[in-house]
């Protein structure tokens, strides 16, 4: 076995040094009797070539996004990843290191995290960000719990425009930590009046921008309504590239910003691992979940970085910790940070404009085909198309014609009649004219 160095002779020598005759003596007290010698038949270890053949055969059964005209988003976006990103994150010193508990030999990871925290703070318009969470949905649940701690209130209001999986993750959590969730109806065709739902027991209002249906909102008004009654405004950002074109949530009055960072540096990867972003105003820092990296000096006065404010965390505070999170998404945060460093202000701004320009082109092209209608007044790179028939059926027919044309909203909201005909459609910088024409042509035939 290529990963196991010992020869049988060495194993024998080591057993002798320990003073036992057989490896089984070291498992004395472990009831090993019931373990079958073979699992799944006489499956033995395999060489690289054979394993690669088996795994490649599985991979080949999937239709890759890059092989067809592709328009899916809904919280996971297909962007170009610069070649340098994947090369750098595979550097052994990043890939095969652990959480930086020994700062003297972890300055690479720690400085990167400090830069990542700064980048996220700048993008979101917040004072501080943590070193990442699992993904956007779990970050959302953690943000609501944090708002409950800060305000000592237990009623969260979730906008109907919040990604349904973020909402579900939050609702799941609310059941066990006993806070109330008031979810506004999710019909995008009806206006929602979140301000009317806020009262003096409200801990927070969670609003996604752009929302799940792609619409962009100016959040200043809802921020004002929250603050007037002592509630916090939590803004969720599922498509982080949008921040290259939109005013930051902080500028619009957010108190906590959570997001999904996959769009920068991380592949679609069938939904994970992704990167939860978590940022807040500085007065709430001690209530934040997750790891924080901070600047300090070493005993010679040189600048260095350490994990700090650890007393919030489970390994010290145990049952009184702000969260149970331990492992986060370090390598995904590195990919995000490298991609954003490569882009810089100019690159991110251009990337965001390109996304928007392509989405505008796409919306103009498909609006009106066979009775399809773009329902958004505003959008960034994703919008909602109302079809004259159930969207799932249309999406399947598009697939049959070789086009991955969008996400039927019913995939996330099954059984909601008002949402049945809605299709979420996304364009990014990777969407070409030919792709747009392919979708338009296929839609024409499917809706004819």
């Amino acid at each position: 076995m290529r990963y196991l160095p010992h020869t049988e002779t060495e194993r024998g020598e080591m057993l002798a040094a320990i003073g036992v005759a057989h490896i089984d003596e070291l498992f004395a007290g472990v009831p090993t009797g019931s373990m079958p010698r073979e699992l799944f038949g006489p499956s033995t270890h395999k060489g690289e070539a054979e394993v690669e053949r088996i795994m490649s055969a599985m991979a080949a059964k999937n239709t890759t996004a890059g092989s067809v005209p592709f328009f899916l988003g809904g919280g996971a976006y297909r962007h170009h990843i610069p070649a340098a990103v994947d090369h750098l994150i595979q550097r052994s010193e990043f890939l095969t290191s652990y959480t930086p508990y020994q700062p003297e030999i972890s300055q690479g990871t720690l400085q990167m995290l400090f830069e990542f925290q700064t980048q996220v703070a700048l993008l979101t318009g917040m004072d501080a960000a943590n070193a990442s969470m699992y993904d956007g949905a779990s970050a959302c649940a953690e943000a609501v719990m944090m708002a409950n701690r800060v305000t000592r209130r237990k009623k969260a209001i979730l906008s109907g425009g919040l990604h349904p999986q973020y909402r579900e993750a939050t609702v799941t959590q609310s059941h066990y930590t006993e806070f109330e969730v008031h979810a506004a109806p999710q019909n995008p065709l009806e206006a929602e009046d979140l301000a009317a739902l806020i009262d003096d027991q409200t801990s927070c209002v969670v609003v996604q921008n752009p929302d799940f249906f792609g619409r962009i909102k100016d959040l200043k008004k809802i921020a004002g309504a929250c603050h007037a009654l002592g509630a916090l405004l939590i803004v969720a950002v599922a498509e982080v590239v949008s921040l290259g074109a939109l005013a930051s949530p902080g500028e619009m009055g957010a108190d906590i910003v959570i997001g999904e960072g996959q769009s920068l540096g991380n592949p679609l990867g069938f939904g994970g691992p992704y990167l939860g972003l978590f940022a807040a105003r500085s007065k709430f820092v001690r209530q934040m979940p997750g790891r924080l990296c901070g600047e300090t000096v070493d005993q010679d006065g040189a600048r260095g970085f350490v994990l700090t404010l650890s007393t919030r965390e489970q390994h010290i505070r145990r049952e009184k910790a702000t969260s149970n999170i331990c492992t986060n998404s370090g390598l995904c945060a590195l990919a995000f940070s490298i991609h954003l460093t490569l882009l810089g202000e100019v690159g991110l701004t251009r990337l965001a404009r390109l996304n928007h320009a392509n989405a505008v082109k796409l919306a103009d092209r498909v609006d009106g085909i066979g009775g399809a209608e773009v329902i958004n007044d505003t959008f960034f790179n994703e919008f909602t198309l109302r079809l004259p028939q159930p969207a799932e059926q249309v999406a399947n027919e598009l697939t049959a014609r070789g086009v991955l044309g969008g996400i039927p909203v019913s995939r996330l909201y099954p059984g909601e009649a008002a949402l049945e005909n809605l299709l979420l459609v996304t364009a990014t910088e990777l969407t070409m004219e030919d792709d747009i024409e392919a979708l338009a042509g296929a839609l024409n035939r499917v809706l004819a």
């Binding site: 001690r286 650890s310 007393t311 010290i316 505070r317 009184k320």
Partner: protein, 125 residues
């Protein structure tokens, strides 16, 4: 020194009229190491003897501070927010945590005087 009382959880308490000033003992501060943060209760909080009143944190540990007596918090030491190191420098003086309007002066009877506390601490080592 003689006017201070001490609890088994290493809080000190100093009475002036019905107002008690509370902090952690010099022994406790030595055990904690560098204090980096003190979380204090809001003014007007009502505390019961034995309930959690504050949290004092070092780099690697967080310890609850329990109210040695019952009463209402009437003042907190805001200086500690800027300078938590005051707890290390002068735990039983400038490093005080809060002032409490006492409910029941008799509760003080349960506490140790300086001499008894010194003996108690000696028994811990």
């Amino acid at each position: 020194m003689t006017d201070k009382k001490y609890s088994r959880e290493h809080e000190w308490i100093k009475l002036e009229g019905e107002v008690a000033t509370i902090g952690i003992s010099n022994y406790a501060q030595e055990q904690m190491g560098d204090v980096v943060f003190v979380e204090l209760p809001a003014v007007e909080t009502t505390l019961e003897a034995g309930s959690e009143a504050a949290v004092v944190e070092s780099v690697k540990a967080a310890s609850e501070v329990y109210a040695p007596v019952s009463g209402e918090v009437i003042e907190i030491n805001g200086e500690l927010e800027e300078n938590p190191g005051a707890v290390n420098e002068d735990a039983e003086g400038e490093g005080w945590f809060m002032k409490i309007q006492l409910d029941d002066l008799n509760e003080l009877e349960q506490l140790m005087d300086a001499e008894a506390y010194a003996a108690y601490v000696a028994s811990l080592d």
